[in-house]
């Protein structure tokens, strides 16, 4: 079975208004004025889809984390404080806007699959509309300006989410990371590295049009995933017992555990996906949905918001691990190891 190289696509587009200081240096009144002007523009008609403006003060920690887990809010913004901060979600959660975070505005888009170009097209349209309200800080040489000069340029940060457990387990990821740095890219573990899920992103924002950088990230991602698949096959040829043992144990645990942390759950789903791709297991519960989608749904705030009655119990509740284990048992019901 051949799957798309990118498990998920994400974009962050930073913009600042000219004529006022960047958020870290600006006074509360000016930031609040900016927030009000932007929110008024979002609430006015004329958008293809409606914006839903959230009051950050009213969001519970679980709701905030839920937004972060969905890729609608960046972790840095969720942790931030201060005046003049606003947040809005576009349409059916296809994009979002952070106001008064590290930059005056940051448009975000996240979706599963190979969707970087589609996302860029959407964010660029929203960006054009916002420009009717905000006069962007721009310099012909530096590009779009930010408080961090090394990030001036297109303002676009691109995130390609990849599933590369074998490269991680065999230690090959380190040399890939070094190669990426040499070409101005970076590599970060998502979820602390659990399941071999990583994100490749661009560090620099200068010297190339957005679409070229997107193309470059897509090419790099395909190369990395190609290496992962080739190492998997090699590993299977050389250590078939070890591979079967690893995957078989994962299936057993997923079917019978009653308490399951999120990182362990990601590791098990990751192993199951490798088993599926190598034709070693049959997991009916994963037919029609990628293991990555299951991982997303089993994140702590997803479990609380979608599967628990007591949403106020917070993200520390031991019940979360029990509910997750039950959900995992349901996914793996009927799963079997092929001989």
């Amino acid at each position: 079975m051949s799957a798309a190289a990118l498990k998920a696509s994400g974009l962050g587009l930073s913009r600042n208004e000219t004529g006022i200081r960047f958020p870290h240096a600006e006074e509360a009144t000016a930031l609040e004025d900016l927030q009000q002007r932007v929110e008024a523009a979002l609430k006015n008609g004329g958008w293809d889809e409606p914006w839903r403006v959230h009051d950050l003060e009213e969001l519970s920690p679980a709701e905030m984390t839920y937004l972060v887990e969905k890729g609608l809010m960046s972790p840095g913004f969720a942790d931030g404080t201060g005046e003049g901060r606003g947040f809005a979600v576009y349409g059916d959660e296809v994009a979002s806007l952070e106001i008064g975070g590290g930059d005056h505005l940051r448009l975000l888009g996240f979706r599963t699959g190979d969707e970087l170009s589609v996302l860029w097209s959407l964010l660029s349209q929203l960006d054009d509309r916002l420009e009717g309200t905000i006069n962007y800080a721009f310099d012909p040489c530096w590009g779009y300006l930010t408080s961090h000069p090394e990030q001036a340029g297109t303002g676009l940060r691109i995130y390609a989410t990849l599933h590369v457990p074998t490269l991680m387990l065999t230690g090959r990821l380190a040399s890939i990371a070094l190669e990426l740095v040499a070409s101005g890219m970076g590599l970060s573990p998502l979820w602390g590295g659990a399941g071999g899920i990583i994100q490749v992103s661009n560090r620099g924002r200068q010297g190339k049009p957005e679409i070229e950088t997107i193309q470059e990230i897509e090419d790099i991602s395909r190369d990395i995933v190609e290496k992962e698949r080739s190492v998997r096959k090699m590993f299977m040829r050389e250590n078939p017992i070890q591979v079967r043992d690893h995957i078989g144990r994962a299936i057993g645990l997923a079917q019978h555990a009653w308490n399951m942390s999120f990182p362990e759950c990601v590791n098990l789903l990751s192993a199951a996906e490798v088993g599926l791709e190598l034709g070693l297991v049959d997991v009916p519960g994963l037919v029609g949905q990628a293991a990555f989608d299951a991982m997303r749904r089993l994140q702590p705030a997803h479990v609380v918001m979608e599967h628990m009655e007591a949403k106020q119990s917070g993200l520390e509740s031991p019940e979360i691990d029990q509910v997750r284990a039950r959900m995992l048992r349901e996914i793996f019901a009927g799963a079997r190891v092929l001989s």
């Binding site: 975000l108 962007y136 530096w142 300006l145 000069p149 387990l169 994100q199 957005e210």
Partner: protein
């Protein structure tokens, strides 16, 4: 969801350029080791970084970040190993936002868009290694002066011409060259 760049990632770089493995001057890579959820970091030269990367086993994930990250404010201003320093005074100030050069060096951040002009020499020195930033390519604000829009179009076509020549697509290159000539003749103010 986006990979968290938590405080551990905003490393407190000091001014040392010494590789922690071999002791030689010339550390350019900061390796982050993520193991069992904890992050540690080490400052290395390229060669030692590659050697260490080759020794990684198990669930350890080693990530590399270039030393320039976070160094806008803390770059060494000495001439032997880097670009020539620009003689500036730390009391130089942006009159629009009040940010001083000392602030920029301390935090690595500027206060407003005008700071890019006021501290341009310092920023080019640190971010671009003393070079002018590469001309911005890609999206530009729709609002802009006619000369800006004209200049960007010329830059775009010049780049396209270079690439077409490199690919030996000479017929298309000739057409782009003609379009460039037209634009240069029509440039606001007579020149590009």
């Amino acid at each position: 969801m986006f990979a968290d760049e938590s405080p551990e990632w905003n490393l407190d770089f000091d001014n040392s350029d010494t590789c922690e493995e071999c002791g030689e001057v010339g550390a350019v890579i900061h390796l982050l080791r993520v193991e069992n959820g904890s992050v540690s970091h080490i400052r290395l030269c390229q060669k030692c970084a590659e050697n260490l990367a080759g020794r990684t086993e198990g669930m350890a994930l080693v990530l590399a970040v270039p030393a320039i990250v976070g160094r806008v404010g803390k770059a060494k201003e000495k001439g032997e190993t880097g670009p020539s320093p620009v003689p500036t005074s730390d009391s130089q100030v942006c009159t629009v936002c009040g940010t001083t050069l000392a602030d920029v060096k301390e935090t690595g951040m500027v206060g407003c868009s005008v700071c890019y002009q006021v501290f341009g020499d310092h920023l080019r020195n640190v971010v671009q290694g003393g070079e002018e930033p590469p001309a911005h390519l890609g999206k530009v604000p729709r609002q802009g002066s006619a000369s800006d829009i004209h200049r960007r179009e010329v830059m775009r076509l010049q780049r396209m011409l270079r690439e077409l020549v490199e690919c030996e697509r000479f017929e298309e290159a000739a057409s782009v060259r003609d379009r460039l000539s037209e634009l240069e003749r029509a440039a606001p103010g007579g020149s590009v």
